[in-house]
Amino acid sequence: MAAPIGTKLVSARFGNIEAQTLAGYEKTGGYGTLRKALAMRPDDIINEVKASNLRGRGGAGFSTGMKWSFVPKDSKTVHLVCNADESEPGTCKDRELIYWDPHLLIEGMIISAHALKAVHNYIYIRGEMMREYVVLQKAVDEAYARGYLGKNVLGTGLEIQLTVHRGAGAYICGEETALLNSLEGLRGQPRLKPPFPAVKGLFGNPTIVNNVETLMNVPFIIDKGGAWFNELGTGRSGGTRMLCVSGHVNKPGVFELPMGITFNQIIDDVCGGVWKGRKVKAVIPGGVSMPPLAPDELDVPCEFDALQTDERIKPVMVSPTQVFDLGGGRQLRTMAGSGGVVVLDDQCDIPMAVWRIMKFFAHESCGQCTPCREGTGWLEKVSRRVAEGNGKPDDLDLLASISHGIAGNTICALGDAAAWPMLGFLTKFRADFEAKLKKRAA
């Protein structure tokens, strides 16, 4: 971990309300990097982003430069789409980023669109974010008026257009192919992959979909260099990371933190410890889709690779004797996900918290694939009766069996997103569920 706590890139303008405006943004150096980037060859920008080891901040942690290089070389029409449909429970960074620094997102998009030779570009913003939409649209209008966007960007002859597209309430539209369908004016249901959007995406054209925070990091990479950005990180993950800490801590918040900070450091050093003098029972590391960590797993760095491979994290099980297989014998520990860290204290009713998570997925399943549509509903019903003390003796096996039946058998990852935490909580907190069943038996 090279960057010290307190290093701020994308959150540097938080609290500076003036920076929402073009004048305020320019006063703090904004749009300075754009001029440098427009003088660069697109491939040089892509190489710089590759060298930075910037990884997608939306949840998957995929290499951004690698993703960009998947666009076929001879493509005539390419689109860049910003995924601002932040909806993963526990995650609240993109909303803050858009609100405090909308022009940084726009500058990042213009630079990235130049790299991708993309003319018509879109920001898909969640419908419920009304205040943020107003701020963002105003910033886009200002950028057009100043010549940063339009048919001839800063007199370079480059055409770069940017349209803000409002959603209308659907978690699934955060899934990139559902988002593209929604952008096309369809119901937000995911598409089969392949073809991947980088080859065939929006309006049938090669399309890169990147998260808000990902795109906001691009100006820093172009300004100071990919190597510099990489050195801020852990080696295989460049830069800093926005983490949203919620739940049972003394000081919840949205923090820009060093990539690779441990969960114990996040809870104790950044968030002032667990509230009410209690102890940690469980930590959801990156949005509710991710399997939880137990108290003895919190010295692991909060970083994409570590959370998938660190052997201190117990693998997710289907039953107390059967390890869950992600495919090809790969184990599932957990993942860094969207940066939503939720802390549950030792008084927390784990089965009730799990029911609430399952209720969410049952509500948000788009209904396209049977295992997810039916399975998430069953998970909600069965986990509810267990949590309420009305569970049947074999309900834990039933929950595991339903989860196992969903995982890997759906078009998109929403099914896995319900199954993984269900299995993860059963793996690490089985005693809490069993206590609920015993209570009924007694």
Partner: protein, 167 residues
């Protein structure tokens, strides 16, 4: 009864049609605008959106019924979307929801008889670090406690905040 878009909505729809290669992607914005003009999305409002964009009625119906912010029925002037998802639940979101139900005299999903409020139990609204939270009209309410609810309602009674102010 045939409906017509307001001049403002017509202008916005025409401008948006220039931003996409076809008119179909404008359907979401057109539905937001129809909701602003007509209060909710009646069958006639859906027909208007369909004819304006040259889309089949069934297509528009499909979109309007997929997304939760589109309302097929009339609702209160101010919509209160109270989050009870995990981060809010852990810090008393259900207690705040119960306080809203008590003080508004309606259950979640309901609209008050004076048509001022609709109360919705919402999924995560991306303000988890300030849980429990809600969206009232177009604004976020952060770090809520049940005892703040009467003041919040009194303020919104005086100054309603329709979501359709933002389109």
């Amino acid at each position: 009864m045939s409906l017509e878009f307001s001049a403002d909505a017509q202008k916005k729809i025409a401008a948006l049609c220039e931003r996409y290669p076809t008119k179909q992607p404008v359907v979401m914005a057109a539905l937001h605008l129809a909701q602003k003009d007509f209060g909710h999305l009646s069958d006639d409002a859906l027909r208007l959106v369909a004819s304006t964009l040259g889309l089949p009625y069934a297509h528009v119906y499909g979109v309007a019924t997929f997304y939760t912010m589109y309302r097929r029925e009339p609702s209160g002037k101010t919509t209160i979307r109270m989050c009870t998802n995990i981060s809010c639940m852990l810090r008393g979101g259900y207690e705040v929801l119960a306080a809203f139900e008590k003080h508004l005299g309606v259950k979640k999903g309901g609209t008050t008889p004076n048509k001022l409020f609709t109360l919705i139990e919402e999924e995560c609204i991306a303000a988890c670090a300030n849980a429990p939270c809600a969206i009232a009209g177009t604004s976020y309410l952060l770090d809520l406690t049940p005892d703040q609810v009467p003041t919040i309602i009194a303020d919104l009674e005086k100054r309603p905040s329709p979501e359709s102010e933002v389109v």
